[in-house]
Symmetry: C2
Subunit: 204 residues, 2 copies
């Protein structure tokens, strides 16, 4: 079974990935706090962090890390790549205050995850990026007990139907549609596709 | 006359420093956009950026850069080291919304600047840090036309007397009491003190 190292200090994200990976990929968790740059693009933050980890030889095996952000349209994309810091400082309550008086479409937001995957320790190979997004709205107030971070105020809304927050979904439900689930899914598809033994096994 | 290179993309900061430096120090401006790490401490952000600039040999002469932040007590120190990004995304209006309903002491805030000075290109020498702070409160609404960034909502308040915002002061008035003026002042004192020719000149 192919093995991959997930570099993160966030246990919740590891749980999400392991649930998606099932028995297809062996996900090893490396609890390592790499630096993140202050950049406006999630792609650039993830890529530069992955380069940093690789250049220092922190991991010898294929590894990846991810950067996620919540981009609220009426706030010019705030909190964006600084979502973790903003969550810690002003939390969901702060985001709701900033959106006071905004209604309907004005509350549109996008959740985005960029996975940066380094297959080889060679510095010549740029990290592969896998991007996942989820569209929704910022709720009027937090709802639900599941998930973490901004999940209680993010109403997933793609297509018709009632809109639940990510915190009102089970982990499996959220994983199936979330930004991170989608980005992880692309990474896992790539890994399974390029793994010769898995391919053979799947075909027999 | 001693020469020093100020690495920044912010022209306003260069103007502030040149006014303080007068004819004592020759301040050269290098408009160069170095990376900043996502860290919670202004000191760490400035130090790591200075190390980055030095390691890459961007400047061959003694140089410095600075990092500044506004730390609002009721917001757990938000926006802190991410002040520039937050200003761009939600601006003064956003900070005022987050403080809606907060009164008096609840609006306390500290402005802080850390100057990181690299005297020698040697990687063994850690950057010297000069810290300046200014105490005040977040105003109920923006006032004044001067300054930049959060200046219109920062009421300087140290000791008794009326409290004007930094944007209601002339550049010279603001420089005399501001976080950046104080940090720059410490740097300039250091440079003048360690400059043999200046010292001799001052003593004759």
């Amino acid at each position: 079974m192919k093995k991959i190292v997930f570099v993160t200090t966030n246990e919740n994200k590891v749980k999400e990935l392991r649930e998606l990976a099932g028995t297809k990929i062996n996900v090893e968790h490396l609890n390592y706090d790499y630096p993140e740059l202050q950049l406006d693009e999630t792609e650039a933050v993830a890529r530069e962090s992955a380069n940093w980890v690789r250049e220092r030889g922190v991991v010898k095996e294929p590894f990846f890390l991810e950067d996620s952000g919540l981009f609220v349209r009426a706030l010019n994309g705030f909190p964006g790549p600084f979502s973790a810091f903003v969550a810690e400082k002003i939390g969901n309550e702060g985001i709701l205050k900033l959106l006071a008086g905004k209604e309907g479409e004005e509350r549109r937001a996008t959740f985005k995850t960029v996975v940066a995957f380094c297959e080889s320790p060679s510095p010549e190979t740029a990290p592969l990026l896998f991007v996942g997004t989820a569209e929704g709205k910022i709720a009027e107030k937090p709802r639900g007990e599941g998930g973490f971070g901004y999940d209680p105020i993010f109403e997933f809304e793609e297509g018709a139907g009632t809109s639940r927050t990510f915190a009102e979904m089970s982990r499996a439900e959220k994983n199936a549609v979330s930004h991170r689930g989608r980005a992880f899914g692309k990474l896992l598809d790539y890994l399974v596709d390029v793994e010769p033994s898995s391919r053979t096994k799947n075909r027999t």
